[in-house]
């Protein structure tokens, strides 16, 4: 009985892969809005999208284990550092696509065209409107000043967004300056690092701290939440895009790369091009509150934030300094 099921299953799989018009993606973006986009893609092209969701590092392990007998066509994950890691592990391949080259700005894609950004987020400072004057904070470095003692909160350093932020500092100012920043900021924290970016905003709104470091889309998600408490939190805080006079605000991407041994490479490329197209890009600000690759949107929230100067560091640098950043955080005792 069981043997029968297995053999039928095997048959079904082999026949499927023979005539399938499909694309399989391994993704660490768990947003339901993404699924809607993939459905739109299927409607347009007739290509079926198979999704495997897991943690990024688990997906890497899976791809490594599959080797040349790869099941996945496209690897989607947040944070450039992860994409660089996938590239260094030899999991991705280079593609030539003029569509991608025009849709994705050069600093948001790999030099060897192995990965491409899909959405953009900035890591910014939020502060309590009642306690901090607008313009009192202008840079990440401001938060390390003595007057901020006991007034800052941030999440754990094991979070990759923090790691990438510190990696950008290593790239821009060298590791000594980066370490000193982490060390001083940690000493200014109101409490041990913990929780999500939303939790930091809740703490700021409650008056437990006066400023926090968070990703932009979390502010949007909080403001657009159905929950009245979330909206209340969002109304109490204001956003500062730091380092406008120097390096610019640290930005990062969610991105994707075509797997080295992709069985449906052409379809994967189509999907990637679709995700960077105007049609798909215009949805991100509304659904996930992320910036589109062009940074231009008519979403009220993004309009309200206005234009800002983004750090134009090549994002591949983040991957290069990722390991250093982890060690520096450890040395700075930032849990």
């Amino acid at each position: 009985m069981k043997n029968n099921i297995i053999s039928i299953g095997l048959l079904a799989i082999s026949s499927l892969s023979a005539l399938a018009n499909e694309v399989t993606l391994y993704t660490y973006r768990h947003y339901e809005a993404d699924s809607a986009l993939y459905e739109k893609f299927t409607q347009k092209t007739g290509i079926k999208v198979n999704i495997v969701k897991s943690k990024a590092d688990a997906l890497f392990e899976r791809l490594k284990s599959e080797g040349s007998d790869c099941k996945s066509d496209l690897l989607v994950t947040s944070d450039a550092a992860r994409l660089v890691k996938a590239k260094n592990l030899g999991l991705l391949q280079s593609v030539e696509s003029s569509t991608l080259f025009t849709n994705v700005p050069a600093n948001l894609r790999d030099e060897d065209n192995q990965w491409f950004g899909i959405t953009v987020r900035a890591r910014v400072i939020v502060y309590n409107k009642d306690k901090v004057k607008a313009g009192a904070i202008t840079s990440y470095e401001d938060l390390t000043k003595p007057e901020w003692k006991g007034r800052v909160v941030a999440r754990s350093s094991s979070n990759i967004y923090n790691q990438s932020l510190l990696a950008s500092m290593v790239a821009n100012k060298g590791s000594k300056e980066a370490l000193l920043w982490a060390l001083k900021l940690r000493k200014n924290m109101a409490r041990k690092p913990q929780g999500s970016d939303r939790d930091q905003m809740r703490a700021v709104a409650a008056g437990l701290a006066d400023a926090a470091i968070v990703n932009t889309y979390y502010i949007g998600l909080l403001a657009n939440s159905q929950n009245t408490k979330d909206q209340e939190v969002a109304s109490k805080i204001a956003v500062c895009f730091p380092n406008q006079d120097s390096t610019g605000t640290h930005i990062n991407i969610s991105g994707a790369g075509i797997c080295k041994y992709s069985p449906n490479k052409a379809n994967a490329l189509k999907l990637l091009e679709f995700l960077t197209s105007v049609e798909a890009q215009s949805t991100f600000p509304k659904t996930t509150s992320e910036f589109p690759l062009s940074m231009k949107s008519d979403s009220p929230l993004i309009l309200a934030w206005g234009k800002f100067k983004a750090d134009n560091l090549k994002l591949s640098e983040l991957g290069k300094h990722n390991a250093t950043a982890a060690k520096l955080f450890n040395a700075a005792n930032w849990e």
Partner: protein, 545 residues
């Protein structure tokens, strides 16, 4: 022979852990185990910033502290509740006896998220109040203390039913004659409890406490949500941040070490004094009448515990789900229900089958090596699910590269969820085996011989004698397995085939990743409901047969 193969399958990841741990330590391991690793601070002349202890020391301390407090609290709650429920007469006793198992149906990460949501505002305002009165440093300590207390509370609420279940069975099976003879010897009822009932129920209680310890040791989701660093969260830090699997696996080795100590302690505590208490044959033990005031108090305490561990968090989820249902319909989660139930049912059956097989092998070949092998095969439960998942993937890759069995493996792990079922087997054998083993041990060997003499062979004896006699143990094992698999997250997340989601993974991605609590509450509630239905089904079956 088959038992050997099964053990090998189960021990494969364990061997992998041992093998990896035996490799020379890496730089990442230094990051974990040294203060000021690489001398960065010293080089920059920041010696005063060098912390007193290494990460490893702090996380181990945290883990042990948490382990001790959760185990102690679970023991107190579980034993006390089991005792009053099985021995005292008070209002609502019967419904309490059943309902106190319900907290098991809430996954610990949902419980944690639910309590975090419930308490975060209070905590934040209290923290502000503490700072205004006692200053910044006290607030920081208050914050850590609060997190630790909440984590202890959440884990206790999630896991105490393991102790409660074990102790309840032991207490209600206790022959009344022991208790009566003790009281006739002039011991007070509390002395009787401490000197007679507790020692007799000890093996069962320690079994329950072992489960609590294992769950606490490899808890990841709840710890992350509540901001507690333990060895298990450190494993993920080593794996994803330091990008060093070896260090991660070494940490898993550390957890196994703690476990080994616990296992030895268990043997020492319960192994030395294994007695076969005679069983109570009458179906309803005599319940002790207690004064009205006291009985009201007992009911109230039971209700309070049930309220905190089940009603309050579920109420919170219902509240959220009502909001969520304005935008979402239940129907889109229904396919997930099918996935989850299919997986849980299939895996439970397979694991029970394997457990019976192993327990049987131990009965037929009572050699020490067989017994040790079966003990070792239950260690899979102590490996954090994610590490087990990674080891599984690594092992599959290894086999595929070195043999030609790739197609079958592909089918198992990528084309179907059978691979996941196999992984569950490795992980949850520890849940299935003990009740079966205990049940089988209670069957007198004379019965086997009588059956043989009456012309029944091995299989016939098994089906006509052992299986019917194991019915209760099987249903007890089935409850635990079904619910545990329904809730399982990290393994499922890593080994899920494409387009396959379960209630647990959906709840996780909505609740913990997207933090969309209102929508996430819907699959969470369905998950809990499925668990409750599983409990009811097993209860119904074991009553009717």
């Amino acid at each position: 022979m088959g038992a050997l193969l099964l053990c090998l399958l189960v021990c494969l990841p364990l061997t992998f852990i041992l093998y990896e741990s035996s490799k020379p330590s890496t730089e990442a391991w230094q990051q974990l185990s040294q203060v000021d690793p690489g001398g960065i601070l010293e080089e920059l002349d920041l010696k005063e910033e060098i912390p007193e202890h290494s990460r490893l020391y702090l996380k181990t301390k945290n883990t042990l502290l948490l382990l001790c407090s959760v185990v102690a609290l679970s023991a107190m709650a579980g034993i006390a509740l089991a005792w009053v429920v099985s021995r005292w007469h008070f209002p609502l006793r019967k419904s309490m006896s059943v309902c106190l198992v319900l907290p098991l149906t809430i996954p610990s990460y949902i419980l944690a998220a639910s309590y975090k949501l419930l308490t975060i505002d209070t905590k934040n305002s209290l923290a502000v109040w503490v700072r205004t009165n006692w200053g910044q440093d006290v607030m920081s300590t208050f914050d850590e203390l609060w997190n630790f207390t909440l984590a202890t509370f959440v884990l206790t609420a999630a896991f105490f039913p393991y102790v409660y279940l074990a102790a309840r069975t032991a207490f209600s099976n206790l022959s009344t004659s022991y208790l009566e003879s003790s009281q006739s010897l002039g011991l007070s009822s509390s002395q009787t409890f401490l000197k007679v009932a507790l020692p007799l129920a000890r093996p069962a209680i320690i079994g329950g406490l072992m489960l609590v310890s294992l769950e606490t040791l490899n808890e990841f989701g709840a710890m992350k949500i509540l901001g507690i660093d333990t060895l298990t969260t450190e494993i993920f830090y080593a794996w994803t941040n330091l990008e060093d699997k070896n260090a991660a696996i070494r940490l898993a080795g550390c957890i196994m070490l703690i476990l080994l100590v616990l296992l030895i302690a268990e043997q020492w505590l319960s192994g030395g004094k294994r007695f076969h208490a005679s069983r109570n044959t009458s179906s309803s033990p005599t319940l002790k009448k207690i004064p009205k005031f006291k009985s009201a108090l007992v009911t109230l305490s039971c209700l309070t515990i049930l309220f905190l561990a089940f009603i309050l968090p579920v109420g919170q989820l219902i509240n959220l789900a009502v909001d969520g249902l304005e935008k979402d319909s239940i129907s889109r989660f229904l396919p997930l229900v099918a996935n989850s139930l299919w997986l849980a049912a299939n895996s439970s059956v397979l694991i029970l089958f394997a457990s019976v097989f192993l327990a049987y092998a131990c009965r037929k070949i009572p050699h020490w090596s067989m017994v040790t092998l079966s003990k070792v095969s239950t260690l899979g439960y102590a490996i954090p699910g994610a590490i087990l998942g990674i080891c599984t993937i690594a092992v599959i890759g290894f086999i595929k590269n070195n043999t030609s069995g790739g197609n079958l493996l592909d089918y198992l792990y990528y084309g179907s969820s059978y691979g996941l079922v196999l992984a569950y087997l490795v992980r949850f054998l520890a849940v299935g085996l003990p009740p079966i083993d205990a049940g089988l041990k209670q069957i007198n060997r004379n019965l086997d011989e009588a059956s043989q003499c009456l012309g029944h062979g091995f299989l016939s004896t098994f089906f006509r004698l052992h299986l019917p006699l194991l019915k209760l143990s099987l249903s007890a094992g089935a409850i635990m397995l079904f619910i545990d698999i329904l809730k399982e997250l990290p393994l499922t997340l890593i080994l899920n085939p494409s387009n396959h989601e379960t209630l647990a993974t959906k709840t996780y991605s909505l609740f913990a990743v997207e933090e969309r609590y209102t929508t996430g509450a819907i699959p969470a509630l369905i998950l809990i409901l499925a668990g409750i239905m599983g409990l009811c089904a097993v209860r119904y079956i074991s009553r009717n047969k």
